[in-house]
């Protein structure tokens, strides 16, 4: 069965400016979504990522890898996490992505080798 990666878009600024209480409230529906879909086996794997201020990027410069601070593209929105799901087709994948209680989601097929 085809697999798709759902990439969850995150606004770091918003998450980092919340109180502990409101963070808890914001996380609750997201965690519930993960729990449910892991249990049903739809989500094969996935992780939440730390904010992009923690990112380190290695850039190929003249053949050598140079270590630099920051994400590969600086933006207000970044990848906040991902899930690998296994469903029959794009319509099913879109239906799963629509049920995500957070922000924007990108859906891309996984290349099967």
């Amino acid at each position: 069965m085809p697999r798709y990666m759902l990439t969850f878009v995150s606004q770091d600024d918003w998450w980092e400016s919340q109180t502990e209480e409101s963070l808890k409230n914001a996380y609750a529906p997201l965690m519930a979504w993960w729990d449910e879909h892991v249990k049903t086996g739809l989500v094969k794997s996935g992780e939440q990522l730390a904010p992009q201020r923690t990112a380190t990027t290695l850039r190929r410069v003249n053949g050598a890898m140079k270590v630099t601070d920051g994400p590969f593209i600086e933006s207000k929105e970044s990848v906040g996490g991902y899930a690998i799901i296994e469903v029959a087709d794009l319509d099913k994948a879109i239906a799963v992505a629509k049920s995500w209680p957070g922000g924007d989601v990108e859906v891309r097929p996984v290349v099967e080798h």
């Binding site: 029959a88 087709d89 794009l90 239906a95 891309r108």
Partner: protein, 387 residues
């Protein structure tokens, strides 16, 4: 469920089956469901006119006559071909494809236009369209866009996506902007044909009927929209004897069909408005209060500046030009760059006797449109005022 990635195969099957039907029916006899057999894309083999509804019927009738005259076939063809056009339409108009790709793909795969014909219709090079089609088909295959009619709760959204594609296609043809010239009725006729196909494949879909009625009311007036010099004639000034009465009357049967479903929608409401115009003996005797009520219902579906602008004309005839002008002016923040905003203002200002302001508004409208026929109309109007 159908195997994935079969889009090309399905498209070919749909196209080839028509050719096959035409070659085999006279010899082997008509299958039980000729309608389900007949595929849309005869054009590929030069059977160009077949896709037109009337010709389609003539052809079916002719084939049936041939059949009646012939002896019963020894070896009847296998059961009726599955009609895959509906799946094809939904796949071509999948929301995961860009709008321009949806348009090109629908014209190519469902209506059977050649890449060259699509390129002409959109004033693009053939290679641009070819590339667009290849990319869209690759996405269908790689992202596994399913070849099926959406089910249950998905269906309403997907139907409106299909209708949006067909409506855009129609308007591209009917209102064509830019260098292509004012009229490109072929694309409009294509859209009308596709919509009528959709209403046959989904007879219980009131918005599809609404869109078809809207298109037909517009097409029925098409011959009066331009004068002998190719210049636009506004609805108000049109020679209503040039309207296609038969088409208008037939279209009211469609209106009756969607009204009976009692599930209103935006296309049905627009069809009611177009119908009220088509039914009026003159601009003055138009049933404006009824049109205004339809616009009010449209606002309930989506309160947009463009709907308010169009509604202002009805408002003018029901409540006077000043009320209408106030309403139009309230949209200036959103519509200042839209030529019809200024053209509408100009009309209302003229009705209020503010000729200098009207002239300025017409000049603004002229500066904002590239459509040659619209430019000619505005230029004529300005010339008349300066006399």
């Amino acid at each position: 469920m159908r195997s994935l990635g079969d889009f090309d195969v399905a498209e070919e099957a749909v196209q080839d089956s028509l050719v096959a039907a035409l070659e085999h029916w006279p010899r082997d006899g008509i299958p039980d469901q000729p309608g389900a057999w007949l595929m849309t894309t005869a054009r590929r083999k030069g059977i160009d006119r077949l896709r037109r509804e009337t010709r389609y019927r003539e052809k079916v009738a002719q084939l049936e006559d041939d059949y009646r005259g012939a002896s019963p076939p020894e070896d009847p063809p296998e059961g009726p071909m599955p009609d895959e056009r509906l799946e094809l339409i939904f796949t071509c108009c999948h929301p995961a494809l860009a709008r321009e790709a949806q348009l090109a793909l629908t014209l190519r795969s469902v209506a059977g236009l050649t890449t060259a014909e699509i390129a002409r219709a959109f004033l693009q090079s053939e290679s641009t369209i070819a590339q667009r089609l290849v990319r869209a088909k690759r996405k269908i295959v790689d992202a596994k866009i399913p070849f099926r009619v959406p089910e249950g709760h998905e269906l309403p959204d997907r139907v409106s996506e299909v209708l949006a594609v067909l409506y855009l296609m129609f308007n591209e043809g009917y209102l064509a902007t830019g260098a292509r010239g004012a009229m490109d009725r072929d694309l409009a006729a294509e859209a009308e044909w596709l919509t009528s196909l959709l209403t046959r494949l989904m007879p219980d879909e009131p918005e599809a009927l609404g869109l078809l009625a809207l298109m037909r009311f517009d097409l029925a007036r098409a011959d009066a929209r331009f004068d002998s010099e190719g210049e636009i004639v506004l609805l108000r000034d049109q020679d209503r004897s040039k309207w296609d009465r038969k088409m208008i009357d037939d279209t009211f049967l469609l209106v009756g069909r969607f009204l009976r479903t009692r599930s209103p929608g935006t296309y049905q409401l627009q069809a009611l408005i177009a119908g009220a115009h088509a039914d009026a003996k003159s601009w003055e005797t138009t049933r404006w209060p009824e049109i205004l009520r339809s616009y009010d219902s449209l606002l309930a579906f989506g309160d947009t500046p463009v709907v308010r602008l169009n509604r202002a004309i009805a408002l003018w005839h029901v409540k006077g030009p000043q009320t209408a002008l106030d309403e139009v002016d309230a949209q200036s923040g959103d519509l200042a760059g839209y030529h019809l905003f200024h053209a509408t203002r100009a009309e209302l200002l003229r009705a209020l006797g503010r000729t200098a302001d009207a002239r300025a508004a017409d000049e603004r409208a002229l500066a904002l449109t590239e459509n040659p026929a619209e430019r000619a109309l505005l230029a004529r109007r300005l010339a008349r005022q300066s006399r």
